[in-house]
Symmetry: C2
Subunit: 313 residues, 2 copies
């Protein structure tokens, strides 16, 4: 069955039924189905809001990835923005644009993937929009909450800060390269570092924070954009997945380049004062591996390199 046969209201009814099978949790006062959803932050919390979009042929291809995986990845990426603020999720909406000849099971697969990640990260689906379009795209809005004055932001880095990153880098770039070479569908889903972000927001000695969506080097520059500071990255220290060098070699890829410039790992990149917590202490508090990967320097001293992330236009 195509969307054309299912119909707009048929699709919406299926989405609402699927959403209602999931537990809403205490953050949702009014869920999907009204003009707007109602979410309830705790007293003294600010509300974090972010939007993110995935377009067919640009961010995903149904040829190399299941519809469910597209949905999972989309919400994981959007939640990563809340993680980078130190916020906890309250709920999200999605807008699905799709051609009328899209198989209904593809649209429902995307929704199933969204709902899977939603349950995993306690971020209920609370609304949406469906529209006809020439290509399929998915735009999410995520809302979170963070205690006033506690949010992590991109501001706050100082010269002399250490640059620290969670997890490993290059894993998604490698997975995408494999899928694009026909070695099976893309299966990797990044983990938004929500727990780590919340822990980080409570620690002293932390500077700025960003999530790594465009690649470590590009996002290190984004983190310091508009300041007279620049990142000095020690490429030899970038944390790589186990067996990464051999796997890259088999595909003829440069592992150093993938770790430095590969996007969509959604790890947190943050700065720590020179006398701030050690990597070992950070790992314990954040519940995830962390690595020192460089430091923040005055711009005139930084290596002159432009960021290498993906450009849309």
């Amino acid at each position: 069955m195509r969307l054309r046969e299912l119909g707009e209201f048929g699709l919406i009814a299926r989405i609402e039924r699927a959403a209602r099978r999931h537990r809403r949790g205490p953050t949702v006062v009014l869920g999907i189905g009204d003009d707007a959803a109602l979410l309830r932050p705790r007293a003294g919390e600010d509300v974090a809001l972010s939007t993110d979009a995935l377009v067919e042929g640009v961010h995903f291809r149904f040829r190399t990835e299941s519809a469910r995986h597209v949905g999972r990845r989309a919400l994981a990426a959007a939640l990563s923005d809340l993680a980078a603020m130190g916020a906890r999720p309250l709920g999200f909406t999605f807008a699905l644009a799709a051609p009328p000849d899209l198989p209904a099971r593809a649209a429902q697969g995307v929704v199933a993937g969204l709902l899977f990640e939603a349950a995993r990260h306690a971020c209920p689906l609370v609304g949406g929009n469906v529209s006809r379009a020439r290509e399929t795209s998915l735009t999410l809005a995520v809302v979170g909450a963070v205690a006033r004055g506690r949010a992590l932001t991109r501001a706050g880095a100082r010269a002399g800060d250490r640059l620290v990153v969670t997890g490993v880098l290059g894993a998604m770039a490698l997975a995408v390269a494999r899928a694009e070479r026909g070695q099976g569908p893309l299966r990797r889903v990044p983990v938004p570092r929500l727990r780590a972000g919340r822990a980080l927001a409570r620690l002293p000695g932390i500077g700025g924070c960003i999530d790594v969506s465009d690649g470590l080097e590009a996002d290190a520059h984004h983190l310091l954009a508009g300041t007279d500071l620049a990142p000095e990255i020690d490429a030899a220290r970038l944390p790589r997945p186990r067996g990464f060098g051999a796997a890259c070699a088999r595909l003829g890829l440069d592992p150093g380049q993938l770790a430095l410039a590969g996007g969509e790992d959604y790890e947190l990149l943050f700065t720590v004062r020179h006398n701030g917590p050690s990597a070992a202490l950070l790992a314990r508090r954040l519940g995830v591996a962390v690595s020192d990967v460089g430091r923040v320097v005055q711009s005139s001293r930084a290596r002159a390199r432009s960021p290498a992330g993906f450009r849309h236009f």
Copy 2:
């Protein structure tokens, strides 16, 4: 200049500059440019969240409408969902997807239109996303705040309630028909009934509320969906714009049909208890004309008519 020449980060820089020229107001703790925005509701307020999308060729055509007008209409429509909840705006984000050969001034025109309406309704732009795509589309997420337990919802209508609508109906359908027949570009921008919605949320004797996006008849059915109630609409009482009959006649259009089924007027449709406030009192409190247009009946007694709104698939 095309988006291809301006570049993704060039476009983002221009959007950020334009957004920063506007006053942010007290609801914004952290605006555009970070991983997420931070908004501040008042103590005891719930947060309302809604998303809305406009796709080129479906919801708008650059041939019949300026880019600035597309932006204005998009935010007005999204804010109408907050109005229908009785919420005040806190801020919004937008995701723009566009082909690389779109003239940069079209993208900037859309943003200028968004910012114009944002200033008008005190709803600051606090974030966004730009992406390459085959066709232009615009997806907004609006966030508002409403005192706990005070939100208007679609629930709450009872048999015997009066059906009441703000403003006039059919004006946008007429304007669209004119533009599509080459009688000049589309210039009408609907007014989201934010003030009326907030006033309505404070009044006793009000049942359910919805905004009229798909057309009065369709949305009257949406308002009562999932209940054993149905709308009984008195078509002769639908409020029409001045000179509407003559204008429709010149175009060979049926004015009654346009008022009943024409979409995108974004008036508020709500139910009032039979002993609730009169239309005259409502008009004074809401600051806008209101009209009784029918009543809510048990479903078995309702006329069997299916709603006639626009369908995407």
